[in-house]
Symmetry: C2
Subunit: 666 residues, 2 copies
């Protein structure tokens, strides 16, 4: 007889499976931010005809006690519940279900009594015993006494009084409050939820090279010169200032203007070739100032209600201190020399890649973590990670969870422009936010497909797209060709399709001179000092400012998963909405995707989704221009001129009454 | 520094995820039969630009060594491999992937050389070292020597010879044979595969009550009287003889004819009310004979190349020995009496349900297992389980795996007609086969939807539908109304839509007299002796015989997942095909679903799937009638008379040549 496993513990009494969300069988955590709710559903059932009850339970990992909320049955054995997270910390949830003897008794009693059976002494005794047992379980004196009273009533009741008691809501409530969980089944594994701070989901980013802060043609700015640029960004409504690497730049094989393999004296070098005699990843480039200057700047930024994001680029110049201190961390040729980066036939002789599988990998990985923690100590709470897809996924998963265990407020943005599954794996493995393909999604079909995948599939649980309109490496063809209207259009899309977005400085000035035939900037500030008038004519700073204000004032635009696309009778106009669940904030966005021509057409407003009756007039107010229109029904006309009005961002206002002469909306 | 977890073991170097098949995150095993292959795919990728290799590995659980087969990359980081199972046993598989340094070297070398670079001394030295290391790993002397030779050649080669060597297939093969698996990643958890014997997937079942074997009006037959019925079933082509319970039938509250609550003297009782003074689940009803008689019958059936399936019905009559020996295994009223089965307001006073959560549950569960093992000792290898959905899923999962650990040839069929998720959970939990909703799927839409779900979704990996045309409990309305054509039609559907099917005896005689308004047999033999002429006029035994022969001779009909539905321009005609992968056996089935009228229409043969050119004539031979037609192209006409020819079961024959006067097909 092999009863060993049976005597160890009870096997599950309830089947709980097909959880949603449940990423790769619980392998990866789900992401939420503080204040966001999470709807969870699962198949819950057991054999026979017994009644079930189920709870959703969640807690901060490491805490003994659970928050609980009852789940409710939908149809076809599907149950649903909602949990809320109020703390920036790693959480976990599970489902607990059990045969509810009292509910079974209630149903059985009602059936028998309903069929005309009045000989129910046995059933009443059974009910009385169930209630008495529950009374014995109750630790609240008042509940215990009430239950004992009910038990006695059932004991002496006739069938008719019994039927009343079986339906008594007070008794039902007391019985539900003290359930018999002896045979409960708990779902395993517990599902982890990374609960980030709110800024992980909603923020506007502004990227600039600190050395370009003042736009001087032949010299770089220092940290202490950056406040002008920062105040300008704040005025435009940005929350995050993102700096490319601020560390000492290597001299050996330093690149010159426009990525030339030789540099001239005075060329400032590429900030991504990190490390010189002035230090490595824990130092600052002397041309930018000192670490004290950086600390001063962090405080200045913080005092403005903003924060700094730093670049975490694991590149070493041949002058990086690691090269001498830890030569075993690099790749070596048979002759013992260190290998530079290559993507044959291209060579990157100014950069040595690190070997993450070096025999000394434990110390290398630890050192990378220490770099992050060093800047955390200096007040940085956001890291934009350069090319994470060229380092092991396991490294990121380990490093991010290590850092966030003590610092759950640290945000990591993955700058991976690579194959789709790698992008997803990096996000699942821990990155708070991810760069996306947005930059290359221009047509209505492309945008609809991609945004639907991001916001309406399983990706919404782990992949938060941070939409950049441009980067120092990417000047999209559309911006090159489309002129100022293209910049307006891409701003509206980035700012309203998703919740977190960014621009790389110069975008607001509509800079768009490329290296011919390439999606790269000519005379890029990656390689040289760059002269700029930050208020040059034709800039779109007002437009950006308005959009950031609109985002801030409309809760619907601060939610990620509420994006819905709608029909418009013109392939050049994209139409989407974002609405809060309570419908107190409904935003309609209509964008002309044609940078050259005015486009018009009929748009189909999903009024039934907004609980608007077909005959009810409603007002749409363009939050950019202030124009108001009274619309009725689904089908309404729009016309968009890419130069003067490339998009409507409408707030829908409902009819509240009439003041005699006019209809009033609110 | 928290390096503890890092120093324990290497973290994975390759991402392996999104396995298919992978049931509930590996919670449940996949089902195959001996000789069946299993195609497995997964996302496999790692950081950077390194080349990967991946193996699929599988073995019998408990064996140290793996079978291996290389996986091949498809697109978008998806890899695929195939494993084969040759033993009736529990198996497991996993995927192993690693950075393939030599493949990476080959690709890099080819790129550099292809770009015109001939200064490749370092690269050649690197290649030479890789090959030398592999030689050191090789344990086969000949391989080791060849590798060392290649290593030396690379060491002294110039760039051009190096390019030749980098492409040398012999060297590639040797390097692939001795891979460097130091940094390999293995997928966890291992995925279990229950490999059943072939009869789990392909068989025809014939159910009869042994007491009705001779069709006597006022007395029952015994085991020793059953050979006539069995030989008849064999002649019709059935493989499995399935008996309702053969155990002693209770006397207390014994049911009479047509489920009357009182019985007359001489009424034989319902075989599902198990247990009397003559014993319980390990005994046989004395009216059927002795255990020796049963053993004799098992041998007789086996000698005919058939086998017996027994019913496992966990019902106890009030006279069952358990009631006295283990009263604690039952449910009790407050007054201490044992509760009979109820489904309010219905009462089943002849049956006591067992309490699977009794405090003595370990002994109850063990005893249930012992019942199965008792009959296994008596040569029974198939159990049809009555109402498994009223016992805990955990019980079945435990019991079936316990039995199959020592007896992997035991087949369990779940007789659950209940909610879809419970039916799926029972199959996932271990049942080899499952009853289905087939009995109630009659229209083209219903059959297409249901069969597509069974054979084309994840269900194909764990749920094997055993299609019964009827059961002692179910006389479908269609058979009641549709007469003989309905019986023909439902036979064709059951026999060709799936691989394992069954009929309950009397079906071949087109018995269809119901309890009015219900899907139940009038004067059911569940409650009484039943007179029958087993060769009554109008029977469809010849038709059944032909279909079973066709099934046996056509491999395409013995496969489960190859079912495809096709268009026909008539909603009353169902058209589907089954073809082997190599296309050496292609079956087309066209069924008139209308029991009353001749239906005709154009059917669209998916000739491109069968590699038939649009201009090529092909022959379809009706395997039921022997009629042959020459068809061409997709669209071909069919006409089906429900009385004389309710269906075509065509075998497609390809053109092989012309003998001058006529086209020859094979």
């Amino acid at each position: 007889m092999s009863t060993k496993q049976l005597t160890l513990e009870r096997l599950p009494t309830v089947v709980i499976e097909n959880l949603d969300p449940f990423l790769d069988g619980g392998r990866y955590p789900i992401k939420r931010v503080v204040g966001q709710e999470l709807k969870i559903s699962a198949d819950v059932f057991k054999e026979g005809h017994d009644q079930l009850s189920a709870n959703l339970k969640w807690r901060k990992v490491g805490q003994p006690d659970w928050h609980q909320a009852p789940m409710r049955p939908l149809e076809n054995d599907r149950w649903e519940g909602v949990c809320h997270f109020i703390e920036n910390a790693l959480h976990e949830f599970t489902i607990e279900a059990w045969e509810d003897h009292f509910k079974s008794w209630q149903v059985e009693y009602a059936k028998k009594f309903g069929a005309g059976n009045t000989e129910l002494r046995t059933e009443l005794d059974e009910g009385s015993i169930l209630v008495e047992k529950t009374a014995n379980r109750a630790t609240l004196k008042q509940d215990k006494e009430q239950l004992l009273t009910f038990s006695k009533q059932l004991k002496s009741a006739d069938a008719h009084l019994g039927a009343q008691l079986a339906k008594n809501p007070e008794l039902s409530g007391l019985m539900a409050a003290w359930p018999d969980l002896d045979l409960r089944t708990e779902f395993h594994p517990y599902v982890r939820v990374v609960v980030d701070r709110a800024e992980a989901l909603f923020a506007a980013w502004y990227e600039f090279f600190p050395r370009s802060a003042e736009g001087k043609p032949n010299a770089g700015s220092k940290f202490r010169d950056c406040l002008g640029r920062i105040d300008d960004a704040k005025a435009m409504g940005f929350d995050v200032i993102y700096f490319p690497p601020i560390h000492p730049i290597g001299f050996t094989k330093r690149k010159g203007k426009n990525n030339s393999v030789t540099s001239e004296p005075g060329d400032p070098g590429v900030p991504y070739a990190i490390g010189s005699q002035f230090g490595g990843h824990k130092a600052v480039e002397p041309d930018l100032g000192t670490l004290d200057d950086f600390d001063w700047l962090v405080n200045q930024v913080r005092s403005r209600g903003m924060e700094i994001a730093l670049d975490f680029a694991i590149n070493c110049s041949p002058d990086h201190p690691y090269v001498k201190e830890h030569p075993e961390w690099f790749f070596h040729r048979p002759d013992g020399t260190i290998k530079y980066a290559e993507n044959p036939p291209k060579k990157y002789e100014d950069v040595y890649p690190l070997n993450f599988h070096t025999p000394d990998w434990v110390n290398l990985w630890e050192e990378m973590k220490e770099v992050i923690l060093f800047w955390v100590q200096h007040g940085v709470r956001i890291f934009r990670v350069d090319n994470p897809h060229t380092k092991p996924n396991a490294f990121w998963e380990w490093m991010i969870s290590e850092v966030q265990r003590d610092h759950p407020d640290i945000i990591f943005l993955a700058e991976a422009f690579t194959r789709p599954k790698m992008m997803k794996a990096l996000a699942k493995g821990g990155f708070t936010q991810s760069y996306t393909y947005f930059t290359w999604r221009n047509t209505k079909w492309e945008l609809t497909e991609y945004l639907t995948e991001l916001t309406q599939t399983e990706m919404k649980y782990y992949f938060r797209g941070n939409f950049f309109t441009n980067t120092p490496d990417i000047l999209p063809f559309l911006l090159q060709a489309g002129g100022r209207p293209a910049f307006l259009i891409r701003t509206v899309l980035a700012a309203t399709l998703t919740t977190v977005y960014g621009i790389y400085s110069g975008f607001e000035l509509c800079e768009n001179v490329p290296v011919p035939g390439r999606e790269e900037y000519l005379n890029s500030e990656k390689y040289q000092f760059k002269e700029r008038d930050w208020n040059a004519p034709g800039n779109i700073k007002d437009y950006i400012t308005k959009l950031n204000l609109i985002r801030r004032h409309n809760r619907a635009l601060r939610e990620y998963e509420n994006l819905r696309f709608h029909t418009v009778e013109n392939e050049q106009i994209l139409f989407y909405s974002k609405a809060t669940e309570a419908l107190e904030n409904i935003i309609l966005v209509l964008v002309n995707l044609d940078c050259f021509n005015t486009q018009s057409g009929f748009a189909y407003v999903p009024i039934e989704t907004f609980n608007i009756d077909g005959s009810e007039p409603y007002q749409v107010e363009d939050l950019i221009t202030g124009d108001k229109y009274t619309w009725r029904g689904r089908r309404n006309f729009v016309m968009l001129d890419p130069h003067t009005r490339p998009a409507h961002v409408f707030r829908v206002r409902r009819l509240v009454g009439m003041d005699g002469s006019q209809i009033i909306f609110a």
